[in-house]
């Protein structure tokens, strides 16, 4: 076995050179080289040989990791996070930003360093003791209040300028009318619904209905997980968060698709092994890819998480969670469901 392989490999190498140089010569009749071509080009004979070789490989299920065997632990782990998220949602809810509640946000750079307590005192004196203060640098603050009129805004700015001294123009200023978020929420739900239906139909056509349903469950898992992380960490939930969720909706499914593609291929080639074995094998086969792609996408995002300003961090945080969740769900959420479904309604070898 070993010797056959090694020798065929060597032979292939030797033959390849003259064959390929013949291939470059367009005028050369193919038949003249047919003997050499056989060794390399996939003509019918070599395809048969390849099939045999693959089925021999298929017997070799020496895979690195057993993802399927520990199925239930992964399911429990996923459920714990999401249930914690739901509990937090009912106990504390989301930390909605002004995009959702309406209100005013000013980011101000002061002429000297200011502590939260100092600024809180000043704001109380002007009559805005309830403002939410968040320092973005030693001398820079985000001040969130209810919606402000121009006069109120000017009052705050001039008072702070007299007491502490501020840099003008201020870093940013944002005013959102209450109720505006209704449109954002409606649009988001429409966009989510439309893309879910679109993806459902597409995966159904390209794979099968069970893969389509599993894909949607993975998507919903990813969205629920992001939402859970937002309630648990109580990070501000704003328009950026919505954009991030929509982004993850479009992106995270590619991990699942790659695994589905591999399962689809294995099911065609390998008629011998049981369904869970095939799934485990497929996941192992694409594991390097899943990790490599997760890595390459996460690199710039992690850098943003470290060096970015508040807006960028908002983006990076959500994407970070979403991308990891997408990779996780493609392995640990999709496969248990596929296997459970198949054991109940067998379509492939149990």
């Amino acid at each position: 076995m070993v010797s056959r392989k090694k020798s065929s490999r060597k032979a292939g190498k030797k033959i390849q050179r003259p064959q390929d140089s013949a291939g470059k010569n367009f005028a050369a009749p193919v038949s003249a080289d047919s003997e050499k071509t056989d060794a390399v080009r996939p003509n019918p004979a070599s395809v048969v040989q390849e099939k045999q070789e693959q089925s021999m490989y298929a017997g070799d299920r020496s895979v690195k990791f057993d993802f399927i065997g520990k199925n239930r632990y992964w399911v429990i782990f996923t459920l714990i996070i999401i249930i914690t998220g739901i509990i937090f949602f009912f106990v504390r809810g989301f930390n909605f930003g002004i995009d959702f509640l309406g209100g005013n946000l000013m980011e101000i750079k002061f002429q000297k360093n200011v502590t939260v307590a100092e600024l809180r005192n000043e704001m109380e004196e002007i009559g805005y003791g309830k403002a939410i203060l968040q320092n973005t640098a030693d001398d820079q603050f985000i001040i969130r209040t209810t919606p402000l009129s121009d006069e109120q805004k000017e009052l705050i700015l001039t008072s702070l300028d007299e007491k502490i001294g501020i840099e003008r123009p201020i870093v940013q200023d944002r005013n959102v009318a209450p109720g505006f978020s209704r449109t954002i929420i409606r649009n988001t739900l429409i966009a989510v619904a439309i893309s879910i239906v679109g993806i459902l139909i597409y995966v159904w056509i390209r794979f099968s209905v069970r893969f389509a349903v599993v894909a949607i469950i993975e998507l919903i898992h990813d969205v629920l997980l992001i939402l859970s992380i937002y309630t648990i960490t109580f990070r501000e939930f704003n328009a950026t968060t919505i954009a991030v969720i929509l982004t993850i909706l479009g992106y995270s499914l590619s991990d699942a698709i790659v695994i589905f593609d591999r399962i689809r291929e294995e099911l065609r080639i390998n008629k011998r092994d049981r369904f869970p074995v095939i799934i485990n094998y497929s996941i192992n086969k694409v594991l390097t890819r899943t990790l490599a792609t997760m890595g390459t996408t996460l690199f710039p995002i992690i850098v943003l998480l470290i060096v970015g300003n508040e807006t960028l961090k908002d983006f990076a945080f959500g994407l970070f969670v979403g991308i990891i969740s997408g990779a996780y769900s493609s392995i640990f959420v999709g496969s248990p469901i596929l296997i459970a479904w198949n054991s109940r309604f067998p379509k492939y070898k149990k």
Binding site: I199, L253, E265, A292, G295, G308
Partner: protein, 425 residues
Amino acid sequence: MRSRLSNIITVIVFAIIIGICFYFIYPFQSSIKLGLDLKGGTQIILKPTETGTEEVTDEALDKAQLIILNRIDELGISEPLVTRDFNRNIIVQLPGVDDPERAIDVIGKTAQLEFKILESADENENPVFGPTLLTGDKLVKASAGYDQGGQIVVTMSFNDEGAEQFAKITTENVGKRLAIVLDGEMKSAPVIRQAITGGDAVIENIGTLEEAKDVALVLQTGALPVNLEIQESQTIGPTLGQDSLRQSMLAGIIGFVLIVILMVALYRGLGAISILGLLCYIIIFWGILAGLGTALTLPGIAGIVLTIGIAVDANVLIFARIKEEILKSKSKYAAFSEGFRNALKAIIDANITTLITAAALYRFGTGPIRGFAVTLAIGVVISLFTAVILVRAILFLIVDSRVVTPGFMGVKIDKRLSGTAVKEK
């Protein structure tokens, strides 16, 4: 599979495309327009609601947009952008405004000017009006200034039709009080002492000259056919935008270096070629953004980060397959062909699901989310060309070369083979 000639042609076509892109990219500094969140500026989202007379139709909104543009021009703000979103909100973007509050005021003012007879007014200044006799659309000119008494006024001239009506009104109502109502607020109600035929009228009771100028400006540019409610106004100072841009660039560069290291570590020579593909991807992406004049926003940058991930992903999928084929003792040529063929389905399926979402986001998203959807879609399509077609052409051109050894592809043949052999026994 494909002939050498077609591979050479592919590479040449890409070289030409990249040349064209450089034409758009050059000069570097000004090639890409930056969105408000990156260069600073003011964005206002205005929600139209019906005025008493007119419904919110597309024509009314078109007219409103035009009037807003005129007002912005009168304010002397350059490069404004007035667009409409899916919910028919009007979105006004003004880069670098000195006095955003004033701009927001002027833009959102309906400027519905009405002349009515004041029938009665009680102590609490609750006026009772007669029917509207004349409106602001008959104006030809409005200007701010002082009257003989040194009071701040806005002087208005009517067109012929307006002047005629005004003359008629003043003739018929001598001795009564004519109320001048701006956006529902009575500005003044002088007693008509005699018929006015000259076609001029004045608005009094205006606080400052600045305010008078704004009133004249909005009257001059005409009343908005719809009422506009300010839903959101946002002003980003120039420093914040610069910070975001600098940090994103830094993240991009560090991220790119890490991607290079990872790809070369995993796939050696193949990885290096995919980096070449990735560079072409970035140049073409940049060229298209510059060519289309699309403004780059923060969500757009997020989109670019993701599409770089997608572009690299396509190569990772292909190379992983090539490695597998090499391990099955295929020849280099067969391994490359099979590798591309096997990976293509997954690449296309994954990209199409991404495009489906991008389409939904574009159709139903607002402002920045749309920008993100556009960059995502452009990126997905370009990445298919660079990561699949270009990289494939280059690989097949060098497949014969002595350089392309298993080591070049990141495969350790001997160790692996003996490993499988042991397991197979």
